[in-house]
Amino acid sequence: MIFRIYERYWKLWLFIPLAMLLIAVAILFNNMISTGSILARDVELSGGKMIVLEIDTAVDVDKLREKLPEASIHVTQGATSSLLIQVPYDADETGIIEELSDITIKGEPTVRSVGPVLGELFWKQTQYALIAAFAMMAIFVFILFRTLAPSSIVLLAATTDILTTMATLSLLDIKLSLPILAALLMIIGYSVDTDILLTSSLLKAKKEEMSQKLKNSIKTGLTMSFTTVAALLSIIFISGSFVLEQIAFVLLIGVLVDIPATWLGNAGWLRLWLLRK
C-alpha cells in the first residue's frame, strides 16, 4: 500500500530531499554570515574549559545555572550519571568545583582546558578533515560506478544527508566537538551505503524489473537503517557518557535524514536518468 503511493508519485517526492537540502544550505549559510563558521564550536574547537563529574544524586540544573551564569551545563543519565560544565578559558575551575559542594561527586573531576589558539588550529584541521573525507569518498564513488550521472546522483544524496544533519545540529543548538566530528565523518562514509545498494541494483535492472528491484533495495536499506536506529537509541538512553551519547545522537540524525535522501531523492533521480536513457 505504502509502496504503491510511493511508486505513483515518485517524481513529486523528489522535492522533499531537494527542499531539505535547500533549507539546510540556507541555515548553514546564515550561520556562516552571522557567526563566521557554519556550526557553533564546542570548547575543544574554540578554546575553553570542560569539567566532567560523575554524580550520584539528581542535580537541580536550573539552580546550577543560576549559580554559574557563564557556564553551559548538561547532565547525562544512564548506567552512571555525569555532569558536564563548560566555561570560558579564563574561568577558574577550582572555584567552580567548590561551588558544587552540595552535590555528591564520585572520585575526582575530569578537567580539560584547550587554549584559544589551539582551538583555532583544531578547527582549521577539522574543516580540512571534513572536506578531504568528502572528496576521497566522492572519488571512490566515481571509481565504483564509472559513470558520471549515477555517481553524481549518489553524491547529491550524500551531500543532502551531511548538510541536513549539520543544519539539524545547528537548530538543536548542538555545538561541534571532536566526537561530533567523528560522527559526521562516519556519516560521510555510511550515507552512501544505502545509495550504493540502490544504485548497483537499479543500474543492472531491466525496465520492467525496476519496480521490484527498488522494492527489494528499500526493504534491505530500511532494515539496515532500523537496526542502526535501534542500536543508537540503546546507546543514547543507556550509556550515560557524553561522548557516546553525542556520537550516537548525530549518527541517529544522519541515519534518519538518509532515508528520504536515498529513497526519495537518489531513487527518483536515478530512475529519471535511467528512463531518459
Binding site: T110, R112, L118, I188, D193, A230, A231, A248
Partner: protein
C-alpha cells in the same frame, strides 16, 4: 567445515592469543624502585615467602629474600621496602588516559628546530621529578603532547611552564672617594664619574646599562656618590652536579614550617667569577655585606649570606634553601627545583595550550557504560532482525560474527594502539558496517530470484555492494590518518582495520554460514 569459517576461527584464536598471551600470570611488576637490586619492569613473586602486597606494608630488618623473574635477590633492609608495584598485566591491551585517568598536556614550542631538544629536557625534568609513565609525542612542527599516568595538573603545569633559566647574582657597591674608586677582578680597574655616567676601566656606562669586564657581566643599578653594580656570577650552564645524596639534601622542621636544602656543584669558571667579585665586598662581622641572589626564570628563589671566610675564594659548591608549610610541600618543592636545575634550561620558551586531567573513576565508568550500551545495542539489533526475518536462529551467527570482529580488531591492535575514546568510536563504526553488510548478504541470499541464480552468484552481487560501502568508509577515514595533532587518528586506524578485517575475514565466513542456513 568450510574453509572460510576455518579462517575466521583461526583469526579469532590468533587474536585471543595476541590479546592475552599470559592469562595465568602471577606476581607483581615493579613500577618504581629505590632498592638498587630491583628495577622497574622486574616481576616479584614473593618477599620472605610472603605475598607481595602484604610484605610491602611490613617493616623489615636484616636480610630480605625476594623471588623475582630474574632470580632470588637478597636485600639488606631496615624499615619498609621502598618500591611500588602493580599486578602483572594479564593482557596486552593498552588503555589510555581516557580510561585509566591521568594528566595530558599539549605545549607549543616557541621557536623552530629545537623540538627534539625540548622533548629531551622535559623528559629528564619529568622523570627526575618522579611522575610515573610519561609519554612524549611530537605533533606537527612545534607542538609536544605529554601524557602522564600520575601526577596532578598543578605539578605538571609548574614543571612545563618553567623555562628553567638559572642565574645567581651579587649586587655590590664601589665606594668612591672624591669621585674616584676602583674594582679588582683579575686586575684592578679605576672607576671615575663623568657627566652622571661611570667610567670603569675603559668603559663608559650609565644607569641600567650592562657591560662586561674580565668575562663577567655587570649591570649598573645606580650612580650617585657611589656606583651600585650587580654581577652575574652563575648561570644554568655553570651547574655541574645537583647533589641528591642524603648528606647534601635536608628537610628540617622549623618554627613556622619546614625548610629544605640541597647542594649544587658549579663550574670552575663560575667559581672564579665568585672569587673575583667577592674580593670587592667588605665583610660585616661574620658575613659579607652583600648576599648572593638566586633566580629561576627571573624570579627570586633564594638569597644566601656569604660567610666572610669565602671572600675571594673560588667556591664551587653552594647550598640552596627554601621553606614550605608542610613537610610534603617542602619535599615536592625541593624535588621540583632540583629537577628543573638538573634538566637544564629549555632551548626556548614553551607555552601550555591544552591541559587535561582525566579522572580515573570517570574512565572506568566510561568503559562500563560502553559495555552496557554495547549489550543494549546488540539487543536492539536482534529485535529488529527477528521482526524482519522471523528467524531467531539468524541472530546467533550475526552476533557471533560481530563479536569476532571486535576480537579481531582488538587482537590486531593489541599493544600497538591505545584504547581511548577514539578507539571505541572506531569499534562502533566497525560494528555498524558489519551489521549493514550482514543484512545486505542475508537479503541477497534469501531473495526469490527472478532468474535462476546460484546462491554464490547472489552473494557475489552482495559483495560488490559490501566492497563499495567498505571502500567509501575507508576513503573517508584516510585523510584523518595524516591530519596533524593525531586528532581522531586512533579512530581512523581502528575503523580502517575493522572494515578491512570485515571484508577479508568475517564477511566471507558469514557468507559461508548463510549458505548453510539458507540451504536447509
Amino acid at each position: 567445515m568450510n574453509k572460510r569459517i576455518i579462517m575466521l576461527l583461526f583469526f579469532v584464536v590468533l587474536s585471543i592469543v595476541l590479546i592475552a598471551p599470559n592469562p595465568f600470570a602471577k606476581g607483581s611488576m615493579v613500577t618504581a624502585s629505590k632498592v638498587p637490586q630491583l628495577s622497574a619492569g622486574d616481576i616479584i613473586y614473593s618477599i620472605n615467602d610472603m605475598n607481595v602486597d602484604d610484605a610491602l606494608n611490613k617493616d623489615f630488618s636484616g636480610n630480605v629474600k625476594i623471588e623475582t623473574s630474574k632470580g632470588t635477590r637478597y636485600v639488606k633492609m631496615d624499615g619498609k621496602l621502598n618500591i611500588t608495584v602493580q599486578d602483572v598485566p594479564k593482557t596486552n591491551l593498552k588503555f589510555g588516559l581516557d580510561i585509566n585517568g591521568g594528566t595530558r598536556a599539549l605545549v607549543k614550542v616557541n621557536s623552530s628546530g629545537v623540538l627534539d631538544q625540548t622533548i629531551q629536557t622535559l623528559q629528564t625534568r619529568i622523570s627526575l621529578f618522579g611522575l610515573r609513565e610519561s609519554s612524549f609525542r611530537a605533533v606537527e612542527k612545534n607542538f609536544i603532547e605529554i601524557s602522564i599516568a600520575g601526577g596532578t595538573k598543578e605539578e605538571l603545569s609548574e614543571l612545563l611552564s618553567r623555562q628553567g633559566k638559572f642565574e645567581a647574582k651579587i649586587p655590590f657597591l664601589i665606594r668612591l672617594t672624591n669621585g674616584k674608586g676602583e674594582i679588582t677582578l683579575d686586575k684592578t680597574y679605576g672607576v671615575t664619574l663623568e657627566d652622571g655616567k661611570a667610567r670603569i676601566g675603559d668603559k663608559l656606562v650609565g644607569e641600567n646599562e650592562t657591560f662586561e669586564l674580565s668575562t663577567i657581566q655587570f649591570t649598573v643599578n645606580k650612580i650617585s656618590q657611589n656606583v651600585n653594580l650587580t654581577a652575574l656570577i652563575f648561570t644554568g650552564t655553570d651547574i655541574k652536579i645537583v647533589f641528591l645524596d642524603p648528606q647534601r639534601n635536608l628537610i628540617q622542621r622549623t618554627d613556622s614550617g619546614y625548610n629544605w636544602q640541597f647542594t649544587i656543584q658549579l663550574s670552575n669558571e663560575g667559581a672564579q667569577r665568585f672569587a673575583w667579585v667577592t674580593r670587592n665586598i667588605p665583610s660585616v662581622i661574620n658575613y659579607l655585606e652583600s648576599q648572593i641572589f638566586l633566580y629561576l626564570d627571573d624570579k627570586l628563589i633564594d638569597a644566601l649570606n656569604i660567610a666572610s671566610g669565602l671572600k675571594g675564594k673560588a667556591e664551587t659548591e653552594i647550598s640552596i634553601t627554601g621553606g614550605a608549610q608542610t613537610q610534603q610541600e617542602a619535599v615536592k618543592e625541593k624535588a621540583k627545583i632540583q629537577s628543573i636545575l638538573r634538566s637544564g634550561a629549555l632551548p626556548t620558551t614553551i607555552e601550555i595550550v591544552q591541559l587535561d586531567t582525566i579522572s580515573p573513576n570517570l574512565g572506568q565508568s566510561f568503559l562500563y557504560n560502553a559495555l552496557i550500551a554495547a549489550m543494549a545495542a546488540a539487543a536492539g539489533v536482534a529485535a529488529v532482525i527477528t521482526v524482519r526475518y522471523k528467524k531467531p536462529k539468524l541472530i546467533v551467527p550475526m552476533m557471533a560474527v560481530s563479536l569476532s570482529e571486535i576480537v579481531i580488531v582488538l587482537g590486531i591492535t593489541a599493544g600497538r594502539v591505545t584504547i581511548d575514546l577514539p578507539f571505541i568510536a572506531g569499534i562502533i563504526a566497525t560494528i555498524g558496517t558489519g551489521i549493514d553488510a550482514q543484512i545486505i548478504m542475508l537479503d541477497e541470499a534469501m531473495r526469490k530470484a527472478e532468474r535462476i541464480e546460484t546462491l554464490r552468484e547472489k552473494l557475489s552481487r552482495a559483495f560488490f555492494i559490501i566492497f563499495g560501502s567498505a571502500g567509501t568508509v575507508i576513503a573517508a577515514m584516510l585523510p584523518l590518518m595524516f591530519l596533524g595533532f593525531g586528532l581522531l587518528q586512533g579512530f581512523a586506524i581502528v575503523t580502517i582495520i575493522g572494515v578491512l578485517s570485515g571484508i577479508l575475514i568475517t564477511r566471507p565466513a558469514f557468507g559461508a554460514i548463510i549458505e548453510k542456513i539458507v540451504k536447509v
